[in-house]
């Protein structure tokens, strides 16, 4: 009698516990997460790498959905399709912050965990933002430039999409950081839509218009390759070494530019880390293990010729 009573009691407890547990923790293999980049550029291949590794480690289903263009409407459509697909978590690097607000709120209301990485949409109700603190990165760039130019000279800023929130934050950070160096003047800020051909043309025009230029800030990934290409020509070859060029993101062409001396420093973000943290935190939130998500700054590494073979992302 006593044994069967105890057995039933413990069986009931075990049953209640398992029901309680499944109410919170989904089986890993039933969880599906989707990660959306901005567009198909190499930076996001690194994010994909980190995200997929984390997904494989957690044993969850993983989907990488690349928008065909940088229009806000394209990402809205993708998120809608993912909602229909009943994914459990979405991590997105946002092209245009306003247009995705309402669809992201709809995803959250239907129980999907949503976070942003690399590029934020602050008013979309996302649980957290994982990415580079862009203003800080810009300030670091300004500091590096200020020291290299000894606080004197004309500089230009080459950016990507003029409307991109993350790029404009970097520019704001640069301008704030340059306040310490009143002898440095920003004479041009030009956009390129991150298109290489446009970037080359913009850099050439800038160099022709300002022959005494001392430094170039490339705040998006097209800056490095564009400057490297331009300085590798007869017309501008003499400016190599006389210009302090700081680039963003370690594309192969940018690294080559660093090695060949066209570029002096690269701010390297940590896309692999961004991707893996995004998936890890999504899974944790889906399983109810993360109550108070907070934004994470993945930071930048300043890569120069000295450490270019030894840094990690």
């Amino acid at each position: 009698m006593k044994f069967t009573q105890r057995f039933t009691a413990s069986a009931l407890v075990a049953l209640a516990a398992s029901v309680g547990a499944t109410a919170h923790a989904k089986d890993a293999k039933d969880i599906s997460v989707a990660v959306i980049p901005k567009v198909a550029v190499p930076f996001f291949d690194d994010c994909n790498k980190g995200a997929k590794t984390a997904a494989d480690k957690a044993g969850v289903k993983y989907q990488w959905v690349v928008p065909q263009n940088t229009q806000g409407s394209t990402q809205v459509q993708i998120i809608e399709d993912l909602i229909s697909r009943h994914v459990d978590g979405i991590a997105i690097s946002v092209n245009e912050p306003k247009s995705v607000e309402s669809v992201m709120k709809r995803a959250e209301q239907s129980g999907i965990k949503v976070l942003t990485y690399d590029s934020d949409s602050p008013r979309s109700g996302r649980s957290m933002y994982i990415g580079t603190n862009n203003e800080q990165a810009g300030a670091t760039m300004a500091e590096t430039m200020g020291k290299a130019l000894n606080g004197q000279g004309e500089v230009a800023i080459i950016t990507g999409q003029l409307g991109a929130v993350n790029l404009n934050e970097r520019i704001a950070g640069i301008k704030k950081g340059l306040a310490k160096y009143p002898g440095i003047k920003v004479v041009e800020t030009q956009g390129t839509d991150d298109d290489l051909a446009r970037g080359v043309s913009v850099v050439e025009t800038t160099l022709r218009a300002h022959p005494q230029l001392k430094g170039i800030f490339g705040v998006s990934q097209v800056g490095g390759p564009a400057v490297a290409k331009v300085l590798n020509t007869k017309e501008f070859g003499t400016m190599k070494g006389k210009l302090e060029v700081l680039a963003f993101d370690d594309l192969p062409d940018t690294l080559k530019g660093l090695k060949d001396g066209y570029i002096q420093g690269i701010m390297v973000q940590r896309p692999v880390t961004m991707g893996s943290l995004a998936v890890e935190h999504l899974v944790a939130q889906i399983q109810g293990q993360e109550a108070q998500p907070k934004d994470i700054d993945t930071g930048v590494t300043v890569v120069t010729k000295d450490n270019m073979t030894s840094y990690t992302k």
Binding site: S73, S99, E101, S102, G163
Partner: protein, 343 residues
Amino acid sequence: MICSEPAKEERSVTAISSKKEPQSGRAADWIKACLRMRELNVLSVLLLVGLLISVFSPYFLTTNNLMGVFRSFSLIALMSIGMMLVIITGGIDLSVGSVMGLSSLVTALVFQHGYNAPAAIGAGLGVGIAVGAFNGFMITWIRLPPFIATLGTLSIGRGLMYIITKGVPVTPDVPDSFTFIGQGYIGFVPFPVVILLAMTAVFSVVMRQTRFGRYVYATGGNEVAARLSGVRTARVKFMVYVLSGLIASMAGVIAFSRFVSAEPASGFGAELDVIAAAAIGGASLSGGAGSVEGAIIGAALAGIITNGVVLLNIDTYAQQAITGCVILIAVSIDIWRVRRKER
């Protein structure tokens, strides 16, 4: 040239298949007429692709998903109505994507300057009418080839958008009554889909039952003969470009209402999607053939492929290639069936 209407009455210009109707009852007649409908070709491809996707994904045939898909292709489908009219007259309108973007932008700017919704919508639609009239003028008065004229307006529109926005999206505050247009529902049907259905019904009737519709087909089928028969072909052509512009601006206003953000590159490339939808819908680029219903089906086909790619977790890089293949297959089947009927 085969007209897409069921063979019911003789018309002065376009050739129609003249099979005699057997006397076997109205229902049978109606069914036979439907089967002979050219739109059935492309409709069957649409249903087939839809079936294929639903076999592999249980989420495809859910109300939410289907309504979402309809809403996302509704703008291209809407613009393809106007494009179909233009193509039937033997012309083409490359500026629709540009007009859509520009209308979005103008609507946004009017809101930004503090005016109310009716003013903003009026301004947005006004842009479409103005550009359409400009296109029509270039084509009917100055006699520019439609390809060149609308290519010019496309470039001017794009340039204007970049000049005005300086590359930064315009995101004003808008009242909720306005966002209903792009984000609201009537029952479970999204409002843009309601607008699409209404416009399809209106233009379907216009093209099949009104004199204007016949004039459009006549102008496209054989412009000289139409003119000699008393059709004011210049006026007809002018009207279709104005209509195309107006419809494109409707799409722009709806798009802005949905995303509440007017981007500098908005509408970029949309003209190709719209032309593809019209081509799938039976439009012959030399004019005289095609139907509004066909264009809608064409847009639906492209739309469900985009949706299917995400639902089935197919590499999104493959999406454009898949869409291209399906378009070629759909139009080939259509042309093959038309050829068979001609023999």
